[in-house]
Symmetry: C2
Subunit: 724 residues, 2 copies
């Protein structure tokens, strides 16, 4: 069952209905009545006979008609009983407002579990708890009690009631836009972000989805759903809780874990989501994306009536990765023909007074600029809308004419226009007209630039879209029987990690180029193994009790003859025992010394919100000091692995600097993919660490490999990483 | 003479006075009359007898009374003659509006020169040309013709008329603040940025200076003046023209060179200037800094009535480098006593409904928080101001009470409060009250955070302020006679660069540790020189015609015996001749091979706006690929050199990573200071390049040194670098 019964409910029971105007149980009924909800409304309160003219019931089960949704406005401790009552009635969904659940600690978590269990028994889907509620604006189904929420084509999904209030207020005061639905997800106890998203994707009236997120319970499913959704509908998202203080604040707010921001941002953008970092830009980005076509070629023009704004806009858009190409000669000539001599016509275009006595020239310029095939959209900055205010009232009519023409131009040419106007706060009619045609207008130059920027960003994403990204695992499908045995043996021996030799063996099973290491248990064996290897060798201790071999002085490098090898063997074993008296020594690993090359590291870990993620970076000082690394949510494709390589700042080193030959990037990409495959194959792996890997001009060498296992009792995939 | 006669003029001639209302020569007189300018107004126009009831003169020289300033509203080509006329009369200043000067190309530049020469002859100081004009709001001396510019305590200095209009409009519509002066600097042909700045510093009514800059003619003098000014008055500045397109747009706008942004930002901040990058934050930052005391200890508290805003604010402020410390226990207990159980009291503080029926609790909370000695300021975010609108009208009175109390609190405690309100656009009286007390209120959460951030930034700057920063050179004072000879010899021989041996000699003269290189001219000499050096040696070709020795195969490293040295000598000389047939070979440099260490580079160059700047970075791949370098305008102090070291991302390498001993940072700082001294000593130096320098655990080695000279005819210090 989808969320249709819940979000499009045809009948509502208000549990905790009240006659006191400050109570939610009053406000909701008032609003439902005032706004003309056509479904049945059933107040529930054992102490009242009727409320606002509606008969009031002592319990939900006493209600005569069918009930799709119950709004539960009673305190936390009463909720399990209320759900039992709802279950008797066959209610399909409940919106639980109360706080005092998972977000408050142990007792609250237990209560939340109880609520979930009651809901599960009776197949009731839950919004919340700890939510401000839900509004379906198409059906006037307003369970928040917030009057005058504007209707429109944006779906609003937030984890904070006051952010929702902010965004609704902004829509009301500063735009002509509004919403299809609002949902406060609250604690996400039952219905999760991705389910709402899927619902909004299917809703024919929703053109964009606007989200404020602090933390998600099932990030991976959300990504997978978002990836599907953004193919046809833009998602704009602000994720807060980056800083420790922000996380702390988010934590006490919704009880959600605010996840690692770097991973989150990368993951969201890979799913095509427009991630916003500045809260002023959140609603405008959604307004713009729901109103205008994306920029197809990342190239826009700027039209200004003064230098300062054009200069700032060019800087800002360049920072946002948007190109501002020179207009073609024909376009420049046409502009010159209608503008004064001093005008700049290359791009940015500066009218240089050419609109002073006739601002409808803006529309002429826009028409010329948008017919340049190289230009995908137009940003107008400066005084448009204010000519009638600043100079002469008669100019306002010409501005309105220009607004009509530009609005129609956007429709006919299918190219975006975004307008910045210094006079926005004065609310001239021409700017309202632009909005009527779906041309967004902002008083902030930065916001106008950002909106142009997100149209270009979404355009770039759609252009690069390939239906291959996959955020879910096919757990265990690619596991090798021998690999499973290695892991089982480690568990059987009570170990939390594989030995280096085991880890390398596992890599070898999955096709990675592992050096021909030999595990030996005597100095004589070591010497023989070394003799069979070409060139100098390294010796390393192998012990389940020693994870960091260097700390135990358990490594000897560059050994070139029998005598050295034997001596090294003896020293290593002695050091290891000195380091930890009762360490179990499995033996010593004899490996060829690795040829020179570029040092890189690859690792995986489990992110709180997105499950397994992979990290790649150039090694040595670059990773330790500069932290020049990149992350991806697993699994990944070859294309993504290639992108990881190219997005580290230090990537030119792999191409060879100072006249060097390039290094073997293909082998490196293959190794990253092997890591991805192994994580998918063995859900028992907690962390995997290849540090360092030496990339040669041909091939690479895995110098050290560590694999840490999850505690055996947790080897089932975490819910965050579960398949959809 | 200061700018008093110009900016505080007691009489004005309007050249190009007009009866046509759309003309500037009409609007200015109208505005002067309407706004009550008390000085004399003299319209000048040979075709009119009187304008707006004032007698009109055929020329300036015919005016009977004294004339302090002439507003010149006639076309560019007429300006030299007008200035001659003004000169006859003894006019002290002129504001030249016309475009068509230096910003438009060669002919314009010539005309600008002509204008400057006329002004110089008659000691007339010029504002502009290519300016929107000047307003002295204290004297109602409005030469822009812009009505209703609000009066206040901010001086406004811009290079773009429409940015000025933007900022004035913003002040008018969104604040209770206004201006002491507005000046459009235009082409800065005569009066420069630093002169206006000095004037504003001395003006007793100006509390902050607000600037929009595209490029400066004398950046170094500006920095020196700004450094003095920011000791007592904050300067807020936005510099546009970062991107190529932005520069192009700025270029066609004011004809100024938009300089290297990295250098500019660093230099401005070193002078204590608050650099703003987002134009929405420009006016608010000035509003806040002119109204409130800076945060003394970089520690602030956040007070919110909902989680979402607090979370975003904590993130944003953390990004801005502001601390949000946990409140002390006593403070937390006091807050708990007045807030409901669910409230968060650690910081951010979330009232959790505790203000719902009495918003004056905000003032109680603010009082408790600001009495925490660890807290330097308070940011309030959320709905304050909207309780009366959203809930019940009676709550508005309580909000007003809270506003009065919080406003007084700011005065008595000398700690800042900044307010974000979702209801700002509704203009409730409580928010206007806050502004009355100088508490700024913003509808944008991001802007409110930034304003708190700049108060903390200015506080940090003032705390670290030491009167030692110097942006001007004492050219040549520290030059050594022997050093001058080296440079003179190079010029005499027609060379544009010093030989490596000369460059190193120059460094040695200034105390840098230079290796005991020996210049030899035969293989035998080379072998003898090598024998006298401990350990292996390097040989390098020395030729005035070969700047890049490696390209000419002119370097041999790691030579350990006589035979190798002789062979290397022969090869090097042969290669050099093969590389360039007629290359003058001065000989070969024999140097000891340098021990291992950390590779760094140091270089200087001439910045368009600020003159000599120095660059420092870790060498090798780090500088080539990651571009992990830092810049400073020269000269610098020891403290600044130390900061340069510590602000590169890779700086921990110098402290020793992976258990290494630290490297000799003191020697490195000394070398950077030597470079600074040399640039000051020899204005002939165009670029200096030490690449690489190897820093050892003790001491360092300058492996290669290049010094490029300016063309001999340009060896006078550039105006940008002149002493003040």
């Amino acid at each position: 069952m989808g969320l249709d019964y819940v979000l499009n409910a045809r009948s509502v029971a208000v549990v905790g209905a009240s006659k006191v105007p400050t109570k939610r149980g009053f406000q909701t009924i008032r609003t439902l009545l005032d706004e003309g909800y056509e479904g049945a409304i059933y107040p529930v309160n054992p102490k009242e006979k009727s409320i606002m003219g509606l008969p009031c019931y002592a319990s939900v089960s006493e209600i005569p008609g069918e009930v799709d949704v119950a709004l539960v406005a009673t305190p936390a401790r009463t909720v399990p009983a209320v759900l039992e009552d709802c279950g008797q009635k066959g209610v399909k969904g409940a919106v639980i407002l109360a706080t005092g659940f998972g977000e408050t600690g142990k007792a609250g978590k237990a209560l939340e579990k109880e609520v979930l269990s009651a809901a599960g028994t009776h197949h009731i889907r839950l919004i919340g708890p700890n939510t401000s509620g839900m509004i379906n604006l198409k059906a006037n189904l307003n369970l928040v009690g917030l009057h005058d929420t504007p209707k429109g084509d944006i779906a609003l999904l937030t984890q904070s009631g006051n952010m929702a209030l902010t965004l609704i207020t902004e829509a009301k005061l500063k735009s002509r836009k509004g919403f299809t639905y609002y949902v406060g997800v609250g604690n996400e106890a039952d219905i999760r972000f991705h389910e709402y998203l899927e619902f909004f994707q299917q809703d024919p009236d929703t053109r964009a989805i606007l989200m404020y997120v602090e933390g998600m319970r099932e990030g991976r499913k959300f990504l997978q759903q978002a990836y599907r959704t953004t193919e046809t509908k833009p998602i704009v998202l602000l994720k807060s809780g980056r800083s420790t203080k922000g996380k702390q604040s988010a934590g006490s707010h919704t009880g959600a874990l605010a996840g690692m921001s770097e991973v989150a941002k990368g993951a969201f953008e890979r799913a095509g989501i427009i991630v916003i970092e500045n809260s002023d830009e959140l609603f405008p980005a959604a307004e713009t994306l729901s109103s205008l076509p994306p920029i197809k070629n990342n190239r826009i023009a700027i039209l200004a009536d003064g230098g300062g704004h054009a200069t700032i806009a060019a800087d800002t858009l360049t920072d946002l990765g948007v190109e501002i190409p020179e207009l073609d000669e024909k376009t420049q000539r046409k502009l010159q023909a209608i503008l004064p001599g001093g005008a700049a016509v290359r791009n940015p275009v500066d009218v240089a007074g050419g609109t002073d006595d006739n601002p409808s020239v803006f529309a002429d310029c826009a028409n010329i600029i948008l017919s340049d095939p190289n230009i995908g959209g137009l940003l107008i900055v400066g005084l448009f809308g204010g000519y009638g205010i600043r100079f002469a009232a008669s100019l306002a009519m010409m501005e309105e004419d220009a607004a009509h023409r530009m609005g129609k131009m956007v429709k006919s040419r299918k190219k975006a226009i975004v307008v910045h106007s210094l006079y926005n706060s004065e609310k001239p009619h021409s700017l309202d007209l632009l909005r009527y045609y779906g041309v967004p207008v902002y008083g902030s130059l930065d916001v106008a630039c950002k909106c142009m920027g997100v149209l270009a960003q979404y355009g770039r994403y759609l252009k690069s879209y390939h239906a291959v990204t996959n955020f879910v695992f096919n757990w265990g499908a690619k596991a090798k029987p021998e690999g499973k045995k290695i892991i089982d043996r480690a568990y059987a021996e009570g170990r939390g990690a594989l030995l280096e030799s085991e880890a390398k063996h596992l890599f070898k099973l999955h096709g990675a180029p592992v050096t021909c290491d030999v595990l030996v248990t005597s100095a004589e064996e070591a010497a023989n193994a070394a003799a069979a290897i070409e060139g100098p060798v390294a010796l390393k201790i192998v012990s389940p009790d020693i994870l960091h071999k260097s700390d135990a002085d358990g490594v000897r490098l560059n050994l070139t003859n029998k005598k050295q090898v034997k001596k090294a063997y003896a020293e290593i074993v002695r050091s290891a025992k000195a380091y930890q008296k009762d360490a179990r020594i499995e033996g010593v690993l004899v490996s060829p010394m690795v040829a020179k090359g570029v040092e890189v590291i690859i690792g995986t870990k489990i992110d709180d919100q997105f499950g397994p993620v992979i990290m790649y970076g150039l090694g040595g000082v670059l990773v330790e000091i500069i932290k020049d690394v990149t992350f991806r949510v697993l699994p990944i494709t070859r294309r993504t692995a290639q992108r990881m390589l190219s997005e580290t700042k230090s990537h030119p080193i792999l191409d060879g600097v100072r006249g060097e030959r390039p290094y073997d990037k293909k082998a490196l990409v293959n190794l990253i993919l092997t890591c991805s495959e192994m994580i998918e194959a063995y859900p028992q792996i907690h962390e995997l660490d290849l540090n360092p890997v030496i990339v040669h001009h041909e091939g690479l060498s895995i110098v050290d490999a560590r694999i840490i296992l999850k505690p055996q009792e947790e080897t089932q995939p975490s819910p965050a990483a579960e398949a959809v």
